[in-house]
Amino acid sequence: MSLTDSDTRTLPTGIAPIRIVWVATLAALVLLWMLAQNVEWIADPESVVTIPLAGWISDAVKWLANDLTFGLFTFKDLTRALAWLLEIPLTVFITLLSSGAEIPLGGESSLTLPPIPWFSILLAVTWLCWVWGGRRLLLLAAASLVYLVVFGQWESAMVTLSSILVAVPVGVAGGMALGIWAYRSERVSRGLTPVLDLMQTVPIFAYLVPVLVLFGFGPVSAMIATVIYAMPPMVRVTMMALRGVSPELLEFGRMAGCTRRQMLWRILLPSARPSLMIGVNQVIMLSLNMVIIASMIGAGGLGYDVLASLRRLEIGDGLQAGLAITLLAILIDRMSQAYIAYRESPTATRRAQGVNNWAMIGGLVLVSYVVGFVFPSLSTYPEALTLDTSPFWDELVRLINVHLYTYLDAVKNTLLIYLLVPVKRFMLDVPWLAVTLLLGVVGWRLGGLRMALVVAAMAAFIALTGNWQKAMVSVYLCGISVIIASLIGIGWGLIAARSERAYKIAVTSVDTLQTLPSFVYLIPVVMLFQVGDFSAMIAIVLYALAPAVRYTAHGLRRIPSETLEAGRMSGCRPRQMLWRVRLPLALPEIALGVNQTIMMALSMLVITALVGTSDLGQEVYIALTRSSVGHGIVAGVCVAFIGMIADRLITAWVARRKKQFRIN
C-alpha cells in the first residue's frame, strides 16, 4: 500500500483525476440505486431486452444433429462413427476386466471366458507399485484393491477403470496433438487460448448437454464428455512444455541437421517429457473427477453407484462407493507420480533390475488367469465374505440427526439468518446497471479501456440473456464460500510456511483434498446438514480450500531470505514481520491462490445444484435433465463469465503489483 502512496506522490498530477473517478463512480452507483426504485430498466434487465440466445443455440444443435450433411455422410453419421471408434477399446477393456466373454463354439455349446480375476490384477498392480514406488506404494495399492474386493465394489470399479483406461490415452493424445499444433503456429495458439480459458471455466454440466444431444445416452458419450473435460490442461501443458525447451537444444537440433519431424520426435517431445507427464497426471485426475458426473449421461460403474445412492439419499451406499472412487483416484495418482519419478531416476538405483517388467506382469496375469479358469470358484470373491458398512453409516446419520440435530441446526440457522440471507438479499437488490458500471470502472483502472469493455460486456451478456437473478445467487454463494475458504486457506498457509514439516503436512493434505472427486464432498455434508444453500456453501469451501493454502505457503516461502534478514535487522517484531514484510510481498501470490479458489468454487457450485440451490448451476442441471442444449450452454457460459471477470481483474491487479515490485 505504501508503494501506491509514493507513486501518487511522485506523480502529483495523477491524484486528482483518480480520486474524481472513484467519487464519481460512487455517486453514480448511489444514484442508480435510488433511480432503480422507479425506473424499471435499471433494476431489471429483462425489461430492456432478453436475447433468445438459448433458443438459437438449441436450434443450431438440432440442425447439426438432424439436418447437417456433408454430401456423402451426415453430421450424425460422423458422430456415430466417432462413437463406434471409441466403443471398440472400451468394450475390450470391459470384457477383460469386468464382464468376460462368451465365445460360441457352434450349436448350443459355448465357451465362457471369465474376466481377469481380482487376484491377478491385485498381483500385477502391487508388483508395478513396488517397482515404481517401493513398499509404501505397494501397501497403498494392496489396501485399496482389497477394499474394493471386500466391500463389493470390484465390478463397478473395473467398469470405471475401463473407461479411464480409454479416456486418458485419448485425452493425452488429443491434447498433445493440439498443443503441438499451437506450438508450431502462432495463429492457432492465439485462437486456442481463449477457447481453453472458456472450456476450463465453463462448468462440467454444460458440456454434458450437447454431448448428450449429439451422441445419445450411454457409456461412450460419457467417455467423450470425460475426454473433452480432461483435455484442455493437456493442451496447455504441451504448449508450455514445448516452449520451455531450451533454445540451445533447438539450435543443436538444427545444427545436427534434424528435419521437422526429427525435431519434434527426437528433440522436443523427449526433452519436454517431465513436464508433459505432469499434464498426463492432470488428465488422469480430471478424468477421475468426471466419473460421477459422467454417470448422468450414461457411464456405469462407481460413479453411477454414487449418483444413484445420493439421489435416494442412501448415505451409506454413497459413502462406500465414494470411498472406492477416492481410493482409486489416490492410487492412480500416486502410481502415475511414482512412475514419473521412476523414469527420471538413474537406472542403477531402480528396483527389480534385470527383470522385464511388462513380461513379468504378463506372466503374472496369465498364470493367475489360468488358475482362475481352472478353479472358477476362486476367481470370484465369495459373496458371503463381503462386508457392507452402509447400515452402520445410515445408523450413524440417524444418530447424528437425533442427538446433534439441535446444535447443527442452530449453527446452520444462525449463519443463514445473519450471513447468507442478508448477503443474498443485497446481491439481488443491486441494480444490474450499477454492477456493470462498477466492473467497468474497476477494469479500466486495472487494465485500461480494453479490459473495461471486456469485463462490462461479459456482465451485460449475463444480464441480457435473462440470467441476472440466478447469476447474482451464484455470485453470493460463491463469494461467501470463497471468502471463508480464503480466510481458512490463508491461515493454514501461514502456519504451513513456518516450518518444513508443517509445509509438508499441508502439501500432502491439500494434494489429497484435490484428488477427491468434487462429488465426494457432497456426501458427508448432506449427511450432516441436509440439502440447501448452507450445505452447498460447506461443500464449496472444502473443495475450494486447497489453492488458497498452497499459494499462500508458496508465496511466503519464496520471499528472498535476504529480505527477511533485512526486516529482522531493522528490528521488526514477529507481528511486524508478518504484516509489514511477509504478507505484502506474498500478496500477489496469495491473490493468484484466491483466483484459483474462485475457479474451483465455481466448478463446485454447479455440482451443488444436486443439493438444491437456486442459481445458475441449477439452471444448467435442469437443462441437462431436459436435454435443453441452449439453456445449458448459455447458463454455463454465464458461470464461465463470472469466473473470467474475477480472473481478469485479479490477474491484472497481480501483474500491476508485481511490476511495482519488479519481480517476475
Binding site: F252, M255, A256, G257, C258, I267
Partner: protein, 362 residues
C-alpha cells in the same frame, strides 16, 4: 569504424610467409543482422544508406543492429576467435554464420558455396556432414545417455545404430570419457558434460567446427584444462574453427587470429600480437593493456637486421613467443638468431630487447 578495420584486415595475413598456404573456408561480406519489427524494412534502410546506415538511421525506424557490416575470412585449419563482451553481437554473428539466424543482408560463402542461396534440404545436408557446433550450456539431450547423445547426429542421418554407436564410442574415448558411456548427462559434472558436447559435435567429422563460448560456464580451473585439451584435439584433427569467447586471455591462448567485436562492429581482426602491438583504437588498447606482452610478442616483431658476422647463442623460429625463449635469451651472452624454417637468417633478437619486454610486463 569500417574504414578503420580495413588496414587490420590487410595486415592480418602478413606473417603468413612461412605458414602453409591456406585457403578461405568460410567468409562473409557486408553481413548485417538487424533486429526489430520488420526485417524487410531493415533491408530497405540498409540499401538506401549505401550498405552502411548509421545507428541513428536504424533507430529512427525502431531497429537495432546486432551485427553491423561484418567482413571476415576464416581460413582452412585456423582457429578464428571472435571476442567481445556481452551484447557485442558475437553470439548473433556465429548464429548468422551457421544460419541459425537468417542474416538481414550480406553474403556468406562456405567452401565456395553461397549459403544464403541454399534450400532447407541443402542446409540440412551441410549441417549433417560439414558443420559441428558446441554450445555454452552444453545443450545435451537429458533423456539420452552419453553414448546416445554422441550418436544422435549420426542416427538422425540414418546411420544404423550399431555403426553410429561404434563411431560415437570412439569420439567419447577421444575426449577422455570412456567408461561413462551409459551415464545420463544429469550425473556428469559441467566439464564432463561439455566433453560430451564436444564429442557430439565431432562425431560427424565436420570440416567447420563452431564453438559458442564452450568453456564460459565452467570453473576457471576446469576451463584451463579444457583449453589445453581443445588445443590438443585441434593439433590432431586440424579443423577449421570459429570460437566465441568473452574472455580475452582465452582468446589469446587459443587463437590464430582474433576478431574483436564492439556493439555490433568488428573493430579489428588480427593475430594476438597484432592486437597488442598495433591496436586500431582505444577500445582494443584497453583490452590488451593487461596482457603480458611476453606471451604474445614474437621473435619477428622483436628482431632487428642481423649484424654482419655476429655469433649467436642459438636459433629461434620467427613466430616463437618471447615467453618461450626469454630464459635462453637472458642467460646468453650473445643474441639469438631468428631463422625461417628453411634455415634462412631473418634477423637477430638482442638480450636487451627481451629484457625490455619482460620489464614492461611487470
Amino acid at each position: 569504424m569500417n574504414d578503420v578495420s580495413q588496414p587490420a584486415d590487410a595486415a592480418a595475413p602478413a606473417p603468413a610467409s612461412d605458414d602453409p598456404v591456406r585457403e578461405t573456408k568460410l567468409s562473409c561480406r557486408g553481413l548485417w543482422k538487424v533486429f526489430g519489427a520488420d526485417e524487410a524494412q531493415a533491408k530497405d534502410v540498409i540499401r538506401q544508406n549505401g550498405g552502411a546506415p548509421g545507428r541513428e538511421a536504424l533507430e529512427e525506424q525502431g531497429l537495432t543492429a546486432a551485427v553491423r557490416d561484418a567482413n571476415i575470412e576464416v581460413q582452412t585449419g585456423e582457429i578464428f576467435v571472435i571476442m567481445g563482451l556481452s551484447g557485442s553481437g558475437k553470439s548473433t554473428l556465429i548464429r548468422c554464420l551457421s544460419l541459425l539466424l537468417q542474416p538481414t543482408s550480406g553474403e556468406l560463402i562456405f567452401d565456395g558455396r553461397d549459403l544464403l542461396g541454399c534450400t532447407d534440404d541443402e542446409l540440412i545436408e551441410i549441417r549433417r556432414h560439414k558443420m559441428g557446433m558446441v554450445f555454452q550450456h552444453f545443450a545435451l539431450l537429458p533423456h539420452l545417455t552419453v553414448l546416445g547423445n554422441v550418436a544422435f547426429p549420426l542416427e538422425i542421418q540414418g546411420i544404423p545404430r550399431a555403426e553410429a554407436e561404434e563411431r560415437a564410442a570412439r569420439m567419447i574415448e577421444l575426449v577422455g570419457l570412456d567408461g561413462r558411456e551409459r551415464d545420463y548427462p544429469s550425473g556428469l559434472s559441467g566439464g564432463q558434460q561439455q566433453r560430451v558436447g564436444i564429442a557430439r559435435s565431432l562425431a560427424t567429422e565436420p570440416e567447420l567446427w563452431l564453438l559458442d563460448e564452450p568453456f564460459s560456464a565452467l570453473d576457471p580451473l576446469i576451463r584451463r584444462e579444457m583449453q589445453d585439451e581443445f588445443l590438443k584435439l585441434q593439433k590432431m584433427l586440424n579443423k577449421t574453427i570459429v570460437f566465441i569467447t568473452h574472455d580475452f586471455d582465452e582468446a589469446i591462448r587459443l587463437a590464430d587470429r582474433i576478431a574483436i567485436m564492439h556493439s555490433g562492429d568488428i573493430v579489428q581482426v588480427g593475430t594476438p600480437e597484432d592486437l597488442v602491438v598495433r591496436p586500431v583504437d582505444d577500445y582494443v588498447r584497453e583490452f590488451t593493456s593487461d596482457v603480458s606482452r611476453a606471451k604474445v610478442l614474437s621473435a619477428r616483431t622483436l628482431m632487428r637486421p642481423a649484424d654482419e658476422g655476429a655469433t649467436f647463442a642459438g636459433d629461434i623460429a620467427p613466430n616463437a613467443r618471447v615467453i618461450d625463449f626469454a630464459a635462453q635469451a637472458v642467460e646468453a651472452a650473445q643474441p639469438l638468431a631468428v631463422r625461417s624454417r628453411s634455415g634462412q637468417l631473418l634477423g637477430q633478437v638482442d638480450r636487451e630487447a627481451v629484457i625490455r619486454v619482460l620489464a614492461e610486463a611487470q
